[in-house]
C-alpha cells in the first residue's frame, strides 16, 4: 500500500504561480515530492502520483500523440473522471501543443440518449479529432462522436509507441484548453482558455485570494469538467506545487462526510464547495464522528459556483464547530468560466460578511439601502446578501445599467469584468462571443449585483429576474422557499415569469412532484402558493410536473430559461391535468391557455 504524497517539498523552493505556461509549471512541480492522491468511496487511498510521475506519463503520452501524426492544435475530448488518467491526458496535451476538452459525466438513470446528445454537441462544437474515456464509457463516446481520427481507452493510447516522438509544448501566447460552461445543454458554449488567462488567474488565486503558503494541502470532490474543480483544484494547486487529495464527486454525493474525514485525516488546509456541499454535510450531521474529525487546520473553506447562502453556512458552523472548524475559514468568492474561474475573493480569516438591505426599497427601486441591526427602520424586512469581496489584482469589476452606463455604489445593475483572466471568446462561436462583451470590451457576466466600498455583492442572474407590478422578485428566493417544504427536494423547483399580452408579467413555479395521490398534490399546490406569497408577496401559478422535467445547464445549474421555453411551447403541463382532474388545476390551465 503506497502512502499519500507529502504536503511539503523537502528541498524544492516553494513558488506560487510564477509560470508562463502549464507545462512550465508542471516541469517545476515535478522536481519535488508533492502530487495527487485519489481516494475511494470510504476514504481509502486508491492511487497516489507525485507531480514527477504525472509529468513523466504526460510527456511520453505527448510523444505518442506526435508519433501518431496528431498535429498541434488538435482538440482532444477527454472524459473528465476524477482519475490519474484524466490528469495524464490533460497535461499530455500541454506538452503536445494540443487542446484538451474535458467532457462531463452524468448520473441520470436511463439518461443514455440525453447524455450521448450532449457529448455529441460538445465534441462537434470543439471539432475534436481525438476522444478518450474509460472502457465502460467508450460506447457513449463512439455513439456520440461517430468516426474520429482516434477514439479509445487510456490503455489503447498507452499501447502506442512513443520512442522518438517530439515534444512541442504550448508557448505562453497560445491556447490551453476548452472549458464548457454556461449555456444550455443543447447549445454548449466552450470557453477557449489561453495560457495567459489560466496562469493569470492561478496567480491571482494563489497569491491574492488564498495567499498560498508552504505546507498548504488541498482536498476536492468537485468535478474536473467544471471550472471550479479544474482550475481551483487541479491547475492552480499544481502551479504552486500543492498536493491535492481527490474524492470522486459521486462518492461525495453518497457520503458527504468522507470529504470532511479526508480533510481531517490528511491535514488539508484548503477546500471549496458551492453552498449545497456544506448543506449536504449539515443534513448528514456528525453522526458520532465528532471525536475523530478534526477540522481545525482547515484555514480556507471556500464557497463559490452559485449564490452564497449565509444561513446554511451558519448551520454548518453550528453542526461542525465542535470539530475545531472556524467560521473565519469561510471564504466567499465570485467567478465564472468566462473569466477562467475567479473574479473576486473576500479577505482571508474574516468569514462571511452579510449586507442586510431594506427589502421593500430593494424590490421597488433597483437600489439598496443597508439596514443596521439596531438602527432606525429595524422593524422593516431585511434581505441579507453575502459580500463576495474585491477583484483580483489587475482585474476590474463594474456595475452597468442596461444602457451600459456605469452605476454608483448600492445601485443594482449588470456585473461586468475586465482583466487578464477574461477569455478572448468562445471557441468557434463569434456570435455567442460578441453577445457577452460590451462595446467597450468588458465581459458581461449575465449576473446582477451592486458594489459597496469596492466590494461586489451578487444578487442574481439578470435574465431570470421576475418583475411583478414593479416588484423585483429573485426566482431563487422563491425556489429556496418552496424547496424547504415537506415533499419537495433541492433542484425540484423552477421559478420564472411569462409575459401575457395585455396582462403583463405572471410568475410561474414549476415543481417536480413525486406524490401519486391527486388530493395530496392539490394540497401541496396550496402550500406552495401560500409559501410563495409569504416569501415575496406575490401570487404565482404552480405547475406540478413529473420528476426529470426540469432542465439543467452543462455545469448542473437550473436553466430557468430552458424550462420557461418548454412551458411556453406547451411541453410542460400539470400532472393532475394529465389524469383528467377538474378543479383548480384545470381552471389554472384554461386560464393560461386563453
Amino acid at each position: 500500500m503506497p502512502g499519500v504524497t507529502a504536503s511539503t517539498n523537502t528541498s524544492l523552493p516553494f513558488v506560487v504561480s510564477d509560470f508562463a505556461t502549464l507545462a512550465e509549471g508542471l516541469d517545476y512541480a515535478a522536481r519535488g515530492e508533492t502530487g495527487c492522491n485519489f481516494f475511494g468511496r470510504k476514504g481509502e487511498l486508491r492511487q497516489s502520483l507525485t507531480y514527477r510521475e504525472i509529468r513523466d506519463l504526460a510527456v511520453t503520452m505527448a510523444q505518442r500523440f506526435d508519433k501518431a501524426g496528431l498535429k498541434r492544435g488538435t482538440r482532444v475530448a477527454i472524459v473528465a473522471e476524477t482519475s490519474p488518467d484524466f490528469l495524464v491526458f490533460f497535461f499530455a496535451c500541454q506538452y503536445a501543443g494540443m487542446i484538451p476538452v474535458p467532457l462531463p459525466l452524468t448520473i441520470h438513470l436511463g439518461g443514455h440518449d440525453a447524455y450521448v446528445t450532449r457529448l455529441r454537441s460538445m465534441i462537434v462544437k470543439a471539432g475534436a479529432e481525438v476522444a478518450v474515456g474509460p472502457a465502460e464509457m467508450l460506447h457513449y463516446l463512439k455513439e456520440a462522436a461517430g468516426s474520429l481520427k482516434m477514439i479509445g481507452t487510456p490503455e489503447d493510447f498507452y499501447a502506442l509507441p512513443f520512442e522518438g516522438g517530439a515534444l512541442r509544448p504550448f508557448t505562453s501566447d497560445e491556447a490551453c484548453y476548452i472549458q464548457y460552461s454556461s449555456g444550455s445543454t443543447s447549445v454548449p458554449r466552450g470557453v477557449l482558455v489561453s495560457q495567459q488567462a489560466i496562469t493569470s488567474n492561478a496567480r491571482g488565486i494563489g497569491r491574492h485570494g488564498l495567499d498560498l503558503r508552504q505546507g498548504d494541502r488541498s482536498t476536492s470532490w468537485l468535478p474536473l469538467y467544471h471550472d471550479m474543480g479544474l482550475v481551483g483544484f487541479c491547475l492552480t494547486p499544481m502551479l504552486s506545487q500543492i498536493t491535492i487529495d481527490y474524492l470522486a464527486t459521486k462518492n461525495f454525493a453518497l457520503r458527504p462526510l468522507t470529504w470532511l474525514k479526508l480533510i481531517s485525516e490528511h491535514g488539508s488546509t484548503i477546500s471549496f464547495s458551492p453552498t449545497f456541499g456544506y448543506e449536504l454535510c449539515v443534513r448528514r450531521g456528525l453522526n458520532g464522528s465528532a471525536k475523530t474529525i478534526d477540522l481545525s487546520r482547515w484555514r480556507v473553506a471556500g464557497i463559490g459556483g452559485e449564490m452564497v447562502r449565509a444561513e446554511i453556512l451558519d448551520r454548518f458552523v453550528g453542526t461542525f464547530g465542535v470539530t475545531g472548524f472556524s467560521a473565519k475559514a469561510f471564504l466567499p468568492s465570485y467567478g465564472l468560466a468566462e473569466s477562467t474561474l475567479a473574479v473576486t475573493f473576500t479577505p482571508l480569516d474574516q468569514g462571511v460578511e452579510v449586507d442586510r438591505v431594506d427589502q421593500e426599497h430593494f424590490a421597488q427601486t433597483g437600489s439598496v439601502v443597508s439596514v443596521k441591526r439596531n438602527g432606525i427602520g429595524s422593524s422593516r424586512a431585511a434581505r441579507p446578501f453575502v459580500i463576495c469581496g474585491v477583484p483580483l489584482p489587475d482585474h476590474e469589476v463594474e456595475i452597468r445599467s442596461e444602457l451600459n452606463v456605469a452605476l454608483p455604489d448600492h445601485h443594482i445593475g449588470r456585473v461586468v469584468v475586465r482583466g487578464p483572466s477574461v477569455m478572448d471568446g468562445y471557441f468557434n462561436d463569434p456570435v455567442a462571443t460578441s453577445a457577452v462583451f460590451t462595446d467597450d470590451g468588458w465581459l458581461d457576466t449575465g449576473d446582477l449585483g451592486y458594489m459597496t466600498d469596492g466590494r461586489l455583492v451578487v444578487t442574481g442572474r439578470r435574465k431570470d429576474l421576475v418583475i411583478l407590478n414593479g416588484l423585483n422578485i429573485w426566482p431563487q428566493d422563491v425556489e429556496w422557499a418552496v424547496e424547504a417544504l415537506e415533499d419537495v427536494r433541492a433542484s425540484d423547483v423552477a421559478c420564472f415569469s411569462v409575459i401575457e399580452p395585455g396582462e403583463g408579467e405572471r410568475m410561474i413555479v414549476v415543481l417536480q412532484c413525486r406524490l401519486h395521490d391527486v388530493a395530496a398534490r392539490e394540497s401541496l399546490r396550496k402550500k406552495v402558493v401560500a409559501t410563495v406569497r409569504k416569501t415575496c408577496g406575490a401570487d404565482c401559478q404552480v405547475v406540478l410536473v413529473p420528476p426529470k422535467t426540469l432542465k439543467f445547464t452543462s455545469s448542473g445549474k437550473l436553466s430557468r430559461s430552458a424550462v420557461r421555453e418548454d412551458y411556453i411551447a406547451g411541453e410542460i403541463f400539470d400532472l393532475n391535468l394529465a389524469v383528467g382532474q377538474s378543479g383548480p388545476a384545470r381552471a389554472a390551465f384554461s386560464e393560461q391557455r386563453k
Binding site: G40, R41, V79, E81, L105, T106, I107, H108, L109, G110, G111, H112, A114, Y115, P134, E136, M137, Y140, K250, A253, L254, R255, R489, A490, S491, Q512, R514, H516, P546, P547, K548
Partner: protein, 83 residues
C-alpha cells in the same frame, strides 16, 4: 457470500422497496424512472444502498444505461464478477 443471479435479484427488489411507496409489483421489466419516479437523488441513494449491501463500486458511468430493474441486476452481477 456467494451471490447468484436469483439471490441478487431478490436482494435488489428488497433494496428497491423503500423507493416504491405505492407498492407496485416489481418485475425485471419495471422501469426505475418511469414506474418508480426515481430521480437522480433517489438514484444516488439507491446506488449507495447497493454498494454497501454487495460491497461493490458502481461507476456512475453505468447509470445512463440502467432503465429497468433487470438492467440494475445485471450491473450488480457484472461488478460482483470483477472483484
Amino acid at each position: 457470500m456467494q451471490w447468484t443471479a436469483d439471490t441478487v435479484q431478490t436482494e435488489v427488489v428488497q433494496l428497491l422497496e423503500p423507493f416504491n411507496p405505492k407498492g407496485i409489483e416489481l418485475t425485471p421489466e419495471t422501469d426505475l424512472s418511469a414506474d418508480l419516479y426515481m430521480d437522480s437523488v433517489a438514484a444516488m441513494n439507491l446506488v449507495m444502498e447497493i454498494e454497501d449491501r454487495f460491497e461493490i463500486d458502481i461507476p456512475i458511468s453505468l447509470l445512463p444505461d440502467v432503465n429497468s430493474l433487470q438492467d440494475l441486476v445485471d450491473v450488480v452481477l457484472a461488478q460482483l464478477s470483477k472483484d
